[in-house]
């Protein structure tokens, strides 16, 4: 009914290897893009952008980054918050040092700086595996946050120890600072989100992605058949940190505007992004988006229902939210360890055969 695949023939390798081989999926993808680029910017308001769209896009970038490291390469990282902080502070230093350069370039460069730091903290992964590595990445988390708190150079010796984004532009349109339009910030983040999504998707199905997955599935076996673990692990750390750095830069410069590092990029942030990819689906691009959307929407919905409909005080709703998120994670792990992405796949397979299943 929904999928009409009859007559959808592939006549070249390019056709066969495209991201969405089924015509219906491909058109849906174009439709989503069209809505996101053409319709949403005209209707987006401050509340919609700040409460839902910006956090969703930015967290989706972070989730894609972590998913590359954890979902595709199998290296569990609890240092995402720390790497996001690197991106934010690199962006801040660049913004203040080179005010006339386009914000676009600053964000990319901030990602690059984070990639270097990521490789540095990824080096121990060659010796340390599994839980030990997960705990070792905590060293990055705590050390980086401490560093940005204690070394005044990073926050330009400001009295409060905070960093706040000055106004910077892309093609003459302000995307950071207090005088931004909702549509401008939204489009800025959307472009980055789409870009990282495309790059990540194509990296993961190329040579690099396959070496990552080989390392994930069994590192010793992969090494024996000729995958270079040094290269695979370090590239995973680099690419992952690059994306996480971009999301950190956007989170600080575009979304929040001012940041106190311990509060915003603490260990909670690392867990939040980790939950996104668990609930969304490890090793799945769609899962990164779905998980980010889910965990961004959940607090908003809970707050609407809890505070506005049921009339609970906000602190009780906050506690309930912890309980619900915690149990959701457990439920997901028990019922569907592959997350929302797998649920979606199952649904899609059913829809392809509906209404005449075998």
């Amino acid at each position: 009914m929904f999928y009409r695949e009859a007559g959808d023939f592939k006549t070249s390798y390019v056709d066969d290897g495209q991201t969405f081989p089924i015509r219906f999926d491909r058109y849906r993808y174009y439709a989503v893009l069209a809505v996101a680029f053409v319709v949403v910017p005209f209707i987006v308001g401050d509340y919609l952008a700040n409460a839902i769209l910006l956090p969703f896009l930015i967290y989706a970038i972070a989730a894609i980054g972590l998913n590359i490291l954890t979902g595709y390469c199998g290296q569990v990282s609890l240092g995402t918050g720390g790497f996001m902080a690197v991106g934010a502070y690199a962006c801040y230093k660049l913004m203040t040092a080179f005010p006339e350069v386009s914000m676009f370039i600053h964000v990319i460069l901030a990602g690059g700086v984070t990639a270097l730091v990521g490789v540095l903290f990824g080096l121990p992964s060659l010796r340390i595996k599994g839980f030990y590595l997960a705990v070792a990445t905590l060293a990055a988390q705590f050390f980086l946050v401490w560093l940005f708190n204690r070394v005044p150079w990073f926050y330009n010796y400001s009295a409060s120890g905070q960093i706040s984004a000055p106004e910077r532009t892309v093609f003459g349109i302000a995307v950071t600072g207090p005088n931004t339009e909702a549509w401008a910030t939204y489009l800025f983040c959307l472009i980055f989100c789409l870009g990282t999504g495309l790059v990540a998707r194509n990296l993961t199905r190329g040579t690099l992605g396959r070496t990552w997955m080989a390392i994930r599935d069994m590192d010793i076996a992969a090494e024996i058949i000729g995958v270079n673990p040094l290269r695979a692990k370090l590239t995973a750390f680099a690419v992952s940190s690059f994306f996480v750095g971009i999301s950190g830069a956007l989170f600080f410069a575009v979304y929040l505007g001012a940041v106190e590092v311990g509060e915003v990029f603490g260990i909670q942030k690392s867990f939040l992004v980790l939950f996104m990819i668990i609930i969304g689906g490890l090793g799945s691009m769609f899962g990164s988006f779905a998980g980010a959307a889910f965990l961004v929407l959940l607090p908003v919905v809970l707050k609407l229902v809890g505070v506005n409909v049921l009339g609970f005080p906000t602190d009780i709703v906050a506690h309930l939210q912890l309980i619900i998120v915690g149990s959701l994670i457990v439920v997901f792990l028990i019922l569907e360890p592959h997350g929302i992405a797998q649920l979606w796949n199952v649904t899609r397979e059913k829809l392809r055969l509906w209404p005449f299943p075998h």
Partner: protein, 329 residues
Amino acid sequence: MPEQLVFAMEVTLNGLMAGVLYALVALGFVLIFKASGIFNFAQGVMALFAAMTLVGIMDGQVPFSHLINATFGTDIHHFGWHVPALLAIILTTGVMVGLAWCVQQFVMRHLVNQAPIILFMATIGLAYFLEGLSDLMWGSEIKNLDVGLPQGINIWIDEATFNIFGYGFFIDNLDIVATVIAALLVVSLMAFSQYTKEGRAMRAVADDHQAALSVGISLNFIWVLVWSLAGFVALVAGIMWGTKSGVQFSLSLIALKALPVLMLGGFTSIPGAIVGGLIIGVGEQLFEFAIGAPYFGGATQNWFAYVLALVFLVFRPQGLFGERIIERV
């Protein structure tokens, strides 16, 4: 004797005491990890939950009173009685056993045979759940916990060291009590696992699940037992930390501090947890005293333990006392 050296000695002693508390939390991790291969991230939150429950029972708080008040518009908060500390501890132990049963029944039983990392993430979910639950049950304000443990400076040590070095060491009585209790706990746990039927069964399960199952040991029972033991250890740790710095959310963060302790000592070794705890406790205090505070602006305790563990692991990936990791294709 030079002044710096005397200061360093005091710092070392205090570090040892702090290390004992880290070791206490790490012990709970090791117990569960050995018996079921689950890396229980929720251990710290269990300590928080246990301490909260203890305070709640002692003060006669009504559980979920905030929620009840918000739902029905009532205004209840206390039953109006005070439970003696010992009875409250026994009751809280009961609650922790109940919790262990629930965890086993509703979570871990359904996750048997899953990859270790999935189990780990499930315990992170459990940690969130427990954190929300304990706040919802007992309220999130900072509470005082007083079960009658002695506190304050130990006069005897102060005087004795003053007579020897001309400078009195500041050692908290509570830390000394904590050390004694931790030592007792370790000895009794060792005795339990060596000399009782259940303890031996526990070690058998730790050694090989399937072999243990085939000689008629109930895995279900052992796992409930292990989680209960871990809950009890969490309660002890919660009492110590709660008395020291109040029962509040930061209590659950000590779990994070216990992680480098575990890495250093190895996940599977009880003596490793103790030694690792002491090394981390002393190491971070001395580092802060000698290098961190004078050169780096202080607060290096936040990360020193992790970096130490990280560097250490690069040279010895299985930790100090961990079993040698043998990998096969």
